[in-house]
């Protein structure tokens, strides 16, 4: 077990270095190279000496890479070239918003995707199965922005039951604490905390459905296929022969074995959720990473683009590391040593 974990961590370290090599190569195409690592506010007339105390290796790429890595590892992702703010700190302002949305979307996808897939597996080749399969195929192939507009048009503008955009009603002023509004509203200690919480939840529904649609379809389809495999296994048949209830077989014996490939599939959904958030956040004016990055692209703010890519890629690597560890826990076969 220990060896397995250290193998995973080793993998993680290697992938991270390959990633920094890639992002470092990117910086070489920027107009000002790695200059964005300097704090621009220190470079003023009031502090003429400050800018002189930092020396950057100029000609040697290897030294520059080490210098770059040193900054990255100490949490300096540079400074936005448009706003002059530290990117690492900015990232943590926007990131919780994306995580909140992605988590809600994943929850939505699991809550409906898993039962749908299991149901389809149970009714394999019957009309219910075909309905679920074709429905998820539509969900999977639908352009996300179009789907979002359709939902906004129906639920927000025609029925008026969901808000059009943003994370919370503008009447609420919630100070930034954890960055997760569902938590921040409750711990804000303001008299209207509960209303603010409901407002935040209310604003979360449509974006979560939009972002969760593709993962829902994928989860439903892969649950169905792994479940049908598992349900055809001998031990299920013998369990049936022993008279164990269908419900118990489905939830206790079949699901656990079907979960293993599902966890891998869910890991892949994380990156789909993050890329999907780019579009979803823009449509719903959701102040998360996706919108932040897209605005940066539009402003030609290379430093932010670089920092955003690095942070998101690192996050995905970490998530995969954690999921692999989870798989070790669930699946005894995966534990080699």
């Amino acid at each position: 077990m220990f060896l397995d974990i250290s193998r995973l961590v080793g993998n993680f370290v290697v992938s991270f270095f390959v990633l920094t090599l890639f992002t470092f190569t990117l910086t070489q195409f920027f107009p000002d190279g790695t200059d964005f690592l300097f704090d621009p506010s220190k470079n003023t007339q009031l502090f003429p000496m400050a800018s002189l105390t930092i020396e950057r290796p100029e000609d040697n790429l290897l030294f520059e890479y080490i210098y770059y890595l040193n900054h990255i590892l100490s949490g300096n992702f540079g400074f936005s070239s448009m706003r002059g703010t530290p990117i690492f700190e900015d990232f943590f302002i926007y990131f919780p918003a994306t995580i909140e949305l992605a988590a809600a979307a994943l929850l939505f996808a699991l809550l409906f995707g898993l039962p749908l897939g299991m149901y389809a597996a149970k009714r394999k080749n019957k009309w219910q199965d075909k309905l679920v399969m074709s429905g998820t195929l539509v969900g999977y192939s639908m352009p996300i922005f179009w789907w979002a507009m359709l939902l906004v048009l129906l639920f927000s503008l025609t029925l008026g039951i969901t808000p059009v955009a943003s994370r919370i009603g503008f009447e609420f002023d919630i100070p930034y604490q954890t960055g997760f509004l569902l938590i921040d509203t409750l711990i804000s200690g303001q008299p209207f905390a509960y209303q603010a919480f409901l407002s935040a939840l209310h604003h979360l529904i449509l974006p979560a459905i939009v972002l969760g649609t593709v993962p829902l379809a994928v989860i439903a389809r892969s649950t169905r296929s792994t479940m049908t495999d598992v349900l055809a296994k001998d031990y299920i048949r013998s369990a049936k022969a022993r008279g164990i209830s269908a419900v118990k077989i489905l939830w206790k014996y079949a699901l656990r074995n079907a979960m293993v490939p599902l966890i891998t599939a869910m890991g892949l959904q994380i990156s789909i959720l993050l890329t999907g958030s780019l579009i979803t956040e823009t449509i719903f004016s959701w102040p998360g990473i996706g919108k932040w990055l897209l605005e940066a692209v539009y402003r030609r703010d290379f430093a932010v683009i670089h920092g955003g890519i690095l942070a998101i890629a690192s996050f995905i690597i970490i998530i995969h590391l954690l999921l692999e560890m989870l798989r070790l826990l669930i699946d005894p076969v995966a534990r080699k040593n």
């Binding site: 621009p40 506010s41 003023t44 007339q45 009031l46 502090f47 448009m82 706003r83 002059g84 302002i93 409906f112 039962p115 299991m118 149901y119 149970k122 009714r123 219910q128 906004v152 639920f155 927000s156 503008l157 025609t158 008026g160 039951i161 969901t162 808000p163 059009v164 955009a165 943003s166 009603g169 503008f170 009447e171 609420f172 002023d173 100070p175 209207f192 209303q195 409901l198 407002s199 939840l201 209310h202 529904i205 419900v247 489905l250 939830w251 004016s285 102040p287 919108k291 932040w292 605005e295 539009y298 402003r299 030609r300």
Partner: protein
């Protein structure tokens, strides 16, 4: 929506669900009821009491800074100078006359070269998280605010990477000879030559008064850059929180010298997409919407809760040709492009005819407008002929810059650029449309990187000098505000001379001459003067538009409504 009495049933079905009763017919029922539970559970929250006193304004862009001295863009002024700061003199909101603000009265010397201002006593600056003012506003703050922009050796002159573009393009760096603190509440401005528009200039956004004490504090803390990002002013509202590209939140200044505002909160919901702005306005998430599209102004009639505000705008939209770059240094080329562009089509398609065709660089509602100027004929053959004379029989390739955001003077620059592109194609000129984020776009234009750019201007003091000096003078070509980089000695001498005179008739004559010179040289294709519109919910009261396109929320209040407006209402029956 599910009715409340259904909820016990829902809990039961959920229990079933958890226990694993995954029977065929119940499944879809669970799915649908669960979905409706999610939607209805938190749809109507009773937060009307909080919302009643918070005004939400759907603005069109993020501000570039919170310091109005550093920028020239409307959204930044709306977010900073017009809510947070005061000036010595201000325009009465909704009108064009000057009224005392931080200066209670002023005297002008007989030679017109010296202005003495008597300052208001007992004006307090905002108390923010990082700053607690210990003294009231006085002459030091005035000196600080102007010297920072004026003196290149001032410690705060280079704190921001942005420059004091407005101050320079108004020529104040050359006009001001001295600023003297006579006593704590008297300040004297001495000028090198008489400047007729000087008082109006001091009422402009860039002349806002910042706190000198705050600057001192920041210097001690070693964070001078915060002066531009975490503003402290004397204005009706103070900044609470800003999240770029998301929102700006203000609260009323509790000890504002004109009295505390009625609103309990003011929020700018930054929404660059006009369709989303309109959707938010209809849904009641916003109370006021900036810059509606022509089609939305039409559509607003279908919503009984909306009110339309309009003003004949004091603005101009134009195509500036960079006269420093080939082939635009050639007059015939500029004239050819003027002939080639079909302005009538632009007025119809881009403005939906809510604009007038422009001939002069100033709009007709600014005095000294030259009525004798006639628009050039739209003719491709004439344009082609001129190009041949200029030595470009096969045309040429160029970049056509268009801003991505909607402006008062130009609701859709990209669309306009496409129309111009098609026109130019017909005379053999290949234009490639280039666009950047608005702030980047302005900075790059200022650096003179463009061939030709679609720009525009909203006059901010009703003086023709505000257009011609700011946009076409040689000093503006140095500061970068002159997008055509056109520096014409004859034109410059007219406007220079006019600015030193105080007799309005004499000045008028010179400005007419300047406009005629403009219409001989064609540094621009002057395109249109747009009407300006704002859509607002009817609960918004006392909102006034200005000809200068500023949004001022001081004095605005919200009418309390007993019941929320039904969104579905009887909208379709209305005309």
């Amino acid at each position: 929506m599910a009715k409340p009495q259904k909820s016990t049933e829902q809990v039961n079905t959920l229990n079933h669900f958890v226990k694993g009763a995954l029977s065929n017919h119940q499944f879809f029922y669970i799915l649908t009821t669960f979905l409706s539970l999610q939607l209805s559970g938190c749809s109507k929250t009773d937060n009307s009491t909080i919302r009643d006193n918070v005004l939400v304004y759907c603005s069109e862009a993020s501000p570039q800074s919170f310091n109005p001295q550093l920028v020239t863009s409307g959204p930044t002024f709306d977010a900073s100078s017009r809510q947070i700061y005061n000036r010595l003199i201000e325009f009465e909101i909704g009108k064009n006359n000057l009224e005392p603000s931080l200066a209670t009265r002023w005297e002008v010397s007989d030679d017109g070269k010296s202005y003495t201002f008597h300052l208001r006593k007992g004006v307090t600056f905002h108390s923010t998280q990082g700053f607690e003012p210990s003294r009231a506003f006085n002459a030091d703050d005035v000196l600080f605010s102007f010297q920072r922009q004026w003196k290149s050796n001032h410690p705060y002159h280079r704190v921001s990477p942005l420059s004091f573009r407005y101050f320079e393009s108004m020529g104040l760096d050359r006009h001001i000879k001295n600023i003297i603190k006579v006593d704590d509440y008297t300040v004297k401005f001495e000028l090198n030559s008489p400047q007729a528009p000087f008082l109006a200039t001091l009422a402009m956004d860039f002349a806002s008064i910042l706190s000198e004490e705050y600057a001192q504090n920041l210097t001690e803390l070693g964070k001078p850059e915060q002066i531009d990002n975490m503003p402290v002013g004397t204005g009706p509202f103070q900044l609470v929180r800003y999240q770029p590209d998301a929102f700006i939140r203000y609260k009323p200044h509790p000890s504002y010298w004109k009295g505390k505002e009625q609103l309990e909160g003011l929020v700018f919901a930054i929404t660059p997409d006009p369709s989303l702005r309109f959707a938010r306005l209809i849904a009641g998430e916003c109370d006021i919407m900036a810059k509606p599209l022509p089609i939305q102004i039409e559509a607003a009639y279908n919503y009984p809760q909306l009110a339309k505000y309009s003003e004949p705008g004091s603005n101009v939209s134009y195509l500036a040709m960079n006269t420093r770059k080939k082939p635009f240094d050639n007059l015939n080329v500029r004239l050819a492009i003027n002939h080639a562009i079909d302005k009538k089509a632009i007025l119809k398609i881009v403005y939906d005819n809510n604009a007038e065709e422009a001939v002069n660089p100033i709009p007709p509602n600014v005095w000294s407008y030259d009525d004798s100027a006639k628009p050039l004929s739209h003719s491709y053959s004439k344009a082609k002929q001129l190009l041949i004379e200029a030595g470009y029989p096969d045309g040429f390739s160029m970049e056509l810059w268009a801003m991505p955001v909607q402006r008062t003077y130009n609701p859709n620059a990209i669309k306009m650029a496409e129309l111009i592109q098609q026109d130019l194609e017909k005379i053999g000129v290949k234009a490639r449309i280039v666009s950047y984020e608005f702030g980047t776009f302005l900075e790059k234009v200022k650096d003179g990187e463009h061939h030709a750019a679609l720009l525009g201007w909203v006059g901010d003091n009703g003086d023709p000098d505000n257009y011609m000096s700011s946009l076409l003078s040689c000093s503006a070509s140095r500061s970068g505000n002159n997008g055509a980089y056109w520096c014409d000695a004859q034109f410059d001498s007219y406007i220079q001379k006019a600015s030193t005179l105080s007799d309005i008739k004499e000045r008028s004559k010179l400005y007419v001459k300047a406009q005629r010179r403009f219409n001989e040289q064609y540094p621009w294709v002057a395109i249109a003067h747009a009407k300006q519109f704002v859509l607002a919910n009817k609960r918004v009261k006392n909102l006034k538009l200005t000809a200068t396109d500023g949004m001022y929320f001081s004095g605005v209040y919200l009418q309390k409504q007993p019941a929320q407006i039904e969104l579905l209402g009887s909208s379709s029956e209305d005309p």
